[in-house]
């Protein structure tokens, strides 16, 4: 079973992929990067493609991520929006980290947005939740809790009519 396949197999691990920081905005549909396999000013672009592109695709499964090699003299990234807009990001002579931080600023979702989305997603994910929109609508459906009086009658000491009647 192929396990450590490729040059840096850590890029294939879930932990590495989950730790990707760049989540593109919803409007961006295509992310294309042009770079060369030679040339010092393409070094950052090559590193970006090698280390960060898997993370990017993992975090943005609906975005088309495409690379063009050895076509243009200088490296650049182009993002295509839903409404026909484009944004050209020059990455000549820039390091991997610089490119990533700039992308997060310009085409990525901010931390606040990501946190809010995480909270919203959590609400749906937590199986212990009950109520509207969850698997169990009432506390009485959860094993170990007081069952619904509509299904099983409550014991006498919990019935109001019984307690009041006995008093008299």
């Amino acid at each position: 079973m192929p396990f450590m396949v490729g040059k840096a197999p850590i890029r294939r691990t879930l932990r590495y992929l989950e730790s990707g920081k760049l989540v593109l905005k919803d409007k961006i549909k295509i992310f294309s990067i042009n770079y060369n396999t030679y040339g010092n000013h393409h070094k950052g672009a090559r590193s970006f493609v090698f280390w960060n592109l898997p993370q990017l695709q993992y975090k943005n499964k609906a975005v088309q991520v495409v690379t063009f090699r050895n076509i243009t003299p200088s490296p650049f990234i182009k993002c295509y929006y839903d409404d026909g807009k484009q944004i050209l990001i020059d990455i000549d002579s820039r390091t991997n980290d610089e490119i990533l931080s700039h992308l997060i600023k310009v085409v990525g979702k901010s931390l606040d947005t990501l946190e809010a989305e995480a909270i919203a997603a959590e609400k749906k994910d937590n199986p212990a939740n009950f109520g509207v929109g969850c698997a169990r609508s009432c506390m009485c459906e959860i094993p170990g809790q007081v069952p619904c009086p509509g299904v099983l009658p409550l014991p006498f000491h919990m019935r109001g009519k019984h307690r009041h009647a006995n008093k008299n």
Binding site: D26, K27, H41, S74, Y81, K85, I87, L88, I89, D90, I91, D92, S93, R94, H102, K105, V106, V107, T113, A116, E117, A120, P143, G144, P147, G150, V151, L152, P153, L154, P155, F156, H157, M158, H164, A165, N168
Partner: protein
């Protein structure tokens, strides 16, 4: 009741607390009793039952209602407010921002990106200028080199031409061919000589052509 649940099985504790639950491996919980149907008369033990309601003082009732209504109003309003906030947040996350906001956001990002692109363009232009300069210098040196080679070649050629010019005085042409033949015939070169190691030449007594005459005789 719930304190009993610690350390005991759920079904045991529920049975102990008055719930009629049997220990069935297949847990089928169906509705045991919903409500007495309208057409069934009241139970015999319950026909003459008079519920003893506590006498309620009107002022107390009024006060209780007032407090209760106030509390319920406040709680419901707070709940409604939170509900709306959550809905609005959800909407924001789902739809994104309004079109105007989105445009503004795009412009902002674009301006940041343009600054970044400009910086990189400056770096790139500087690099190209350096490369251009190097290329020009290299070309100049190679041109100089080529010129020097050409000069050398020219001098060599001229030398060869000069030597040939000097030699051309002794060349045999159509004009002096008759003279040359007569000269060669009259001054035959005698190769019949011996030479010792010191370089002294010993010429023979016989004239050239005389050996052939002797053999004929």
């Amino acid at each position: 009741m719930l304190r009993n649940l610690l350390g005991k099985t759920t079904i045991d504790s529920l049975s102990a607390n008055g719930f009629n639950i049997s220990y069935n491996p297949v847990c089928v919980q169906s509705v045991r009793w919903r409500r007495k149907p309208r057409w069934i008369p009241k139970a015999k033990t319950k026909i003459f039952r008079i519920p003893n309601h506590k006498p309620l003082l009107p002022e107390e009732t009024h006060e209780w209602l007032r407090i209760n209504n106030n509390y319920k109003l406040q709680m419901n309003s707070v709940r409604a407010f939170f509900r709306e906030e959550v809905m609005n947040k959800k909407k924001l996350i789902a739809q994104g921002q309004t079109p105007a906001d989105e445009e503004a956001e795009f412009e902002r990002c674009k301006s940041i990106n343009d600054e970044w692109n400009q910086e990189i363009a400056n770096i790139r232009d500087a690099r190209y200028a350096r490369i251009m300069k190097k290329r020009c210098e290299k070309l100049e040196t190679s041109l100089d080199h080529l010129e020097r080679i050409k000069e050398l070649q020219m001098t060599k050629i001229e030398e060869r031409v000069r030597i040939q010019k000097e030699k051309s005085t002794t060349f045999i042409t159509r004009k002096n061919i008759d003279q040359a033949i007569e000269h060669a015939l009259s001054n035959q070169v005698d190769f019949n000589f011996s030479i010792d190691l010191q370089g002294n030449i010993y010429k023979g007594d016989e004239k050239p052509g005389s050996v052939a005459k002797k053999e004929a005789n």
